[in-house]
């Protein structure tokens, strides 16, 4: 049941290739905005690509949990004996699967466009994207009942994602891994608590 739930999350959450295309567009916009100076581009590349990744991870947050709450799916899952925490863990994995693999692929393209070092960029994103997914999950649970939830979710996530962004673009792998581990591991419990408090 849990595995099927995760697969279903991927099916429902993913806007298909939208986060990926979004990432590539943001990456190329920074290339156009900064200009064709290869040295300068190489210096700002990691930072802009991390910001682009963060924004791409934000895209599905508005509907990530709110839809399941409003259409009764969450009730049905709970009636079948699943704890909110279990549902949230499954949704976290589904959310990560729906944007990260495509994003890592796009990072290779984006890195080439911005003259960035691709290997550290992809390594960092691999370590950091679970944290972005976790933050997205928590924010999605917090705003599940609110009107204009997606905008609010953005305001909640962006400041909290600072450590991931700083350690990731600064190639501080151990700190990035630590921050990512904490954010990812805590998020299903925080999200479940948020949903419980909203009842």
């Amino acid at each position: 049941m849990i595995w099927r739930l995760t697969l279903r999350s991927v099916d429902i959450v993913s806007g298909g290739l939208i986060p990926l295309v979004f990432f590539v567009i943001v990456a190329s916009l920074s290339a156009f905005a900064i200009g064709p100076d290869a040295v300068l581009l190489g210096r700002v590349a990691a930072g802009s690509l991390w910001v682009a990744a963060l924004l791409a991870a934000l895209l599905p947050v508005g509907t990530l949990i709110a839809e399941d709450v409003s259409d009764g799916t969450m009730d049905q899952l709970r009636v079948r004996g699943l704890a909110l925490e279990t549902i949230m863990i499954s949704r976290l994995v589904g959310h990560w699967l729906s944007f990260s693999p495509a994003l890592l692929l796009a990072a290779v393209i984006g890195g080439a466009m911005l003259n960035a070092d691709v290997v550290p960029l992809v390594t960092g994103l691999l370590i950091g994207t679970p944290a972005l997914a976790g933050l997205g999950l928590t924010a999605a649970a917090l705003v599940a009942g609110a009107r204009g939830g997606s905008a609010l979710a953005g305001l909640i996530i962006l400041p909290l994602a600072l450590p991931v962004l700083i350690f990731g673009s600064g190639e501080a792998w151990r700190l990035l891994a630590a921050a990512s581990l904490v954010l990812t591991a805590l998020s299903p419990f925080a999200a479940a608590a948020a949903l419980r408090a909203a009842e």
């Binding site: 099916d11 429902i12 409003s70 009764g72 799916t73 009730d75 049905q76 009636v79």
Partner: protein, 181 residues
């Protein structure tokens, strides 16, 4: 008396500082039905959510069998997915299909409101649960399907199932116990 599939004692609900209902006690044994009626806002749906374990009661306790199914106001069907895939996800059997068997390959988004309700009823009644908690199950159904629903409920009770129905329409459940909130 055989073991009750659903029983509650001194159940009380306070929502938003207002007492909705208090000191409800009843036990439903196999074959029993409870019809909950009341005006809008009298707490019928809240009672059903408490019985389903989705809402903690303000006081009292609920005991229910582990095999139960709940149908809320919302149908919990994803618009973009095929009806058959949705039902398969919830592990629903072939009956009672409420006349929808031929629509498995149709996306949920093209179903009418009544068809979606019937699909939700199929999911609720087709999982082999002993206890059904139904919140206005007849909403959006035409006369023929209402009759079919009542037949399905009767058959369920014959088999020793229990059903709690919340409704403000006249629903003919033979020998049902009534609870007016």
């Amino acid at each position: 008396m055989p073991d009750a599939l659903l029983s509650c004692e001194n159940l009380t609900s306070v929502r938003g500082g207002r007492v909705l209902w208090q000191d409800l006690s009843f036990a439903l044994a196999p074959g029993d039905a409870l019809l909950v009626t009341g005006t809008n806002g009298s707490g019928k749906s809240s009672l059903l959510r408490v019985l389903a374990g989705l809402l903690p009661p303000s006081g009292g306790m609920v005991k229910r069998t582990e095999r139960y199914a709940y149908l809320g106001h919302d149908n919990a069907l994803k618009a973009g997915r095929m009806l058959g895939a949705e039902l398969a996800f919830w592990g629903v059997g072939d009956t009672p299909d409420f006349g929808l068997a031929g629509l498995r390959d149709v996306p949920v988004s093209v179903l009418s409101a009544g068809q979606k309700r019937r699909a939700a009823l199929w999911r609720t009644c087709g999982t082999g649960a002993d206890l059904w908690l139904l919140d206005e199950p007849e909403a959006g159904l035409d006369a023929a399907n209402r009759t079919a629903l009542l037949d399905v409920i009767d058959a369920h009770r014959m088999r020793g199932g229990v059903v709690v129905v919340v409704s403000h329409a006249d629903i003919a459940l033979p020998n049902a116990r009534g609870l007016a909130l």
